[in-house]
């Protein structure tokens, strides 16, 4: 029934047809500490991000908390207006669209929230929550929608009878499924998840991730996932963008990026993946110091205060995000040195082997997971 949402999928300009969503030099600044007398300080939550999301791919955006990835997600959906820059959906600039037209477009662009406990209206039944997008966008009729809601609930692994219950009667994992059903209800083409599983138990995480993968194939979706768990990302994404302090520092295909990270920050993140072995329990990311405050980001390369390869130029000149290989971009003055340094982290194969075991766990769960979840009652 959601196939209708794709009728116009091929109608875009062929040249740009590859990209469903693009960000061009996107920036969002927030004023903080604004009061009558004090001059407000400015946080550059997202600062000059350019990004292209290809039709049908899964793009992951990774970074530490506070790096601006949630802000970026909201900018891509125009839940926030950018301070500068553009967001293009199917080649049209949506960053300045009037609210009324934007509301119509929201049918195509849906969002999954991080916190399943605050993302559902406690005063509405699950059925009403899932039906809401259909009602707003005029999908189905008053008579047909309850059936559509029941189908959707079953599809995300819940019972159709749950439609009459209230959100507080459900567990976190079930609520996240309700949130996913709501996001799918109006037949979107792009689904953006703001850390959709990070608030859930690890066992439930795998189930929800696998559900998203299945739905992506079934409904022909493009997924943008915000995450900080690198294991989850490798399992399900096609490409990865790494963010640091409001900027994208590296971008590339998942496997190449994981096998040979070029930015010193990405390398540090890779080293920080926990290893499920008692002998190598110590996590050493090789990073020193804390993330600088986004109120006062360092000049030049924002990573230079913590970077092992930092030199004079890094303190002065901001490195551009440059294409260094096919579909591979990195923003570092010293990426070639960083690449040469990869063997120095000689245990990398061991790490990725260990990480591989965790990925395998996700795959195992994908078979048992959805079946088990549908039997779960609150």
């Amino acid at each position: 029934m959601n196939g209708k949402g794709h009728d116009n999928a091929g109608a875009g300009a062929p040249a740009r047809g590859d990209y469903v969503l693009e960000a061009r030099d996107l920036a969002r600044r927030f004023k903080v500490g604004s009061s009558f007398l004090a001059t407000p300080q400015v946080v550059r939550a997202v600062d000059g991000v350019s990004l292209s999301v290809r039709r049908g791919e899964t793009l992951a955006i990774v970074g530490e908390s506070g790096c601006g990835k949630s802000t970026l997600a909201r900018l891509l959906l125009r839940l926030l207006r950018p301070s500068s820059g553009q967001v293009l959906y199917d080649g049209t600039d949506i960053s300045d669209l009037p609210e009324r037209e934007m509301r119509r477009l929201r049918k195509d662009l849906q969002f999954i929230f991080q916190d399943p406990f605050s993302s559902l209206n406690p005063r509405m039944t699950v059925g009403a929550i899932v039906e809401e997008p259909m009602r707003v966008h005029g999908i189905g009729t008053r008579a047909s929608r309850p059936q559509q809601v029941a189908d959707l609930l079953r599809r995300v692994g819940l019972r159709a009878e749950y439609a009459n219950r209230y959100p507080h009667e459900f567990s976190g994992g079930q609520r996240q499924r309700i949130g996913i059903a709501r996001a799918l209800a109006c037949g979107p083409r792009v689904l953006i998840g703001d850390e959709p599983v990070s608030a859930l138990d690890v066992s439930i995480q795998a189930q929800v991730i696998n559900l998203l993968e299945e739905l992506k194939a079934e409904f022909d979706l493009t997924l943008v996932l915000i995450a900080h768990d690198l294991a989850v990302i490798r399992h399900m994404s096609d490409r990865v963008a790494v963010m640091y302090l409001g900027e994208i520092v590296e971008q590339g295909e998942t496997d190449t990026l994981y096998d040979a990270p070029l930015h010193p920050y990405t390398q540090a993140l890779m080293r920080a993946i926990p290893i499920p072995s008692p002998r190598s329990r110590k996590v050493d990311s090789g990073l020193t110091g804390d993330v600088p405050s986004p109120l006062a980001p360092p000049p030049g390369c924002r990573f230079h205060t913590r970077c092992p390869l930092a030199s004079g130029i890094c303190k002065v000149e901001r490195p551009p995000l440059a294409t260094v290989a096919h579909d591979r971009m990195v923003a570092c003055h010293h990426w070639e040195e960083a690449r040469a340094g990869i063997p120095s982290a000689a245990e990398t194969p061991a790490h990725s082997h260990a990480a591989e075991r965790r990925f395998a766990l996700y795959r195992e769960h994908s078979l048992a997971g959805t079946a088990a979840a549908s039997d779960r009652t609150p």
């Binding site: 839940l79 849906q110 605050s118 559902l120 707003v136």
Partner: protein
């Protein structure tokens, strides 16, 4: 249990929301008592013209300040009017004053509070500053000033009390909206494509409703007392027609000679205020889906 029952789970139809609220309300003893008290006075007030009681304005020089007796169940007042009859007719004025003025306050205050909290910015600044200015004036002083400006009558007293109580509801609603606005489901409603009006009415209002309801019941009590004060000043119910407040205020001159003149209106105000508070508390619990 009978052969014809259908399993409630299999047809997927759960009881509707209203019946849930109702059944929860019925299980709450306090709410039930409150509802009974309020209901009793409402019925008595509504039936006043039909009851076989004396004319509340008829005076009798032979029966001045008589104690309760078989003839005058609740006694008589300083010019020989039947207090029982005046109590029943006074219930009309007092309940009307309480409920109508709070309705006025809610109907004006809640939308302003919603808009102020939801949109923020200049709208919020303008509405909040006016609210602050009104709140800086004592409630009763403001009501007296407004009532004096509008002219003495029960209707004008209700309007004056309602307008004086409005800033409380603006402030309360605004504060609640500010906290609910940050919830993800409000952003979720925007992400679905709902308009601001729909978000305010379907997502924010239901979630700020409970404290407003509780405040409203408390304010009904305050409004009943405010009406009494205005009546005392000659700005509320006009003599010879009774209201509990004006009866109480006259009675205070005869506290030692005829204490029953104060007992009945005092007790009635106390009971109605208690009833509204119990009912409001019960409604708050019943409307909260998180409490079963």
């Amino acid at each position: 249990m009978t052969g014809a029952t259908v399993s409630p789970a299999s047809d997927g139809v759960a009881p509707r929301r209203q019946s849930r609220v109702w059944s929860k309300l019925k299980r709450n003893r306090g709410a039930l008592i409150g509802a009974l008290i309020v209901g009793f006075f409402v019925i008595v007030a509504a039936l006043a013209p039909l009851l076989p009681i004396a004319d509340p304005t008829a005076t009798s020089w032979t029966a001045v300040r008589k104690a309760p007796s078989a003839l005058y169940w609740l006694g008589t007042d300083e010019i020989g009017r039947d207090i029982f009859s005046r109590m029943i007719w006074g219930a009309q004025a007092s309940l009307l004053a309480g409920v109508v003025s709070v309705l006025i306050a809610v109907v004006i205050g809640v939308p302003f509070g919603l808009v102020s909290g939801y949109f923020g910015g200049w709208t919020d600044q303008a509405i909040s500053r006016v609210t602050d200015a009104l709140l800086a004036t004592p409630f009763l002083i403001l009501a007296i000033a407004l009532a004096a400006f509008l002219g003495p009558s029960l209707t004008n007293a209700m309007i004056a009390i309602g307008l004086s109580a409005t800033p409380i509801f603006i402030r309360l609603t605004r504060g609640q909206v500010l906290s609910v606005k940050t919830e993800d489901y409000v952003e979720g409603a925007r992400a679905i494509g709902l308009s601001d009006v729909a978000i305010m009415s379907r997502y924010i209002l239901p979630n700020v409703f409970a404290p407003i309801l509780v405040q409203a019941t408390l304010t009904i009590a305050t409004a009943i007392i405010a009406e009494a004060s205005l009546s005392f000043l000659g700005l509320g119910q006009q003599p010879p027609y009774p209201s509990w407040g004006s009866m109480l205020n006259v009675a205070k001159n005869f506290m030692t000679q005829a204490p029953w003149m104060a007992w009945w209106p005092g007790a009635a105000i106390f009971l109605v205020v208690l009833g509204f508070n119990l009912l409001g508390d019960g409604l708050r619990d019943a409307l909260d889906p998180r409490e079963s």
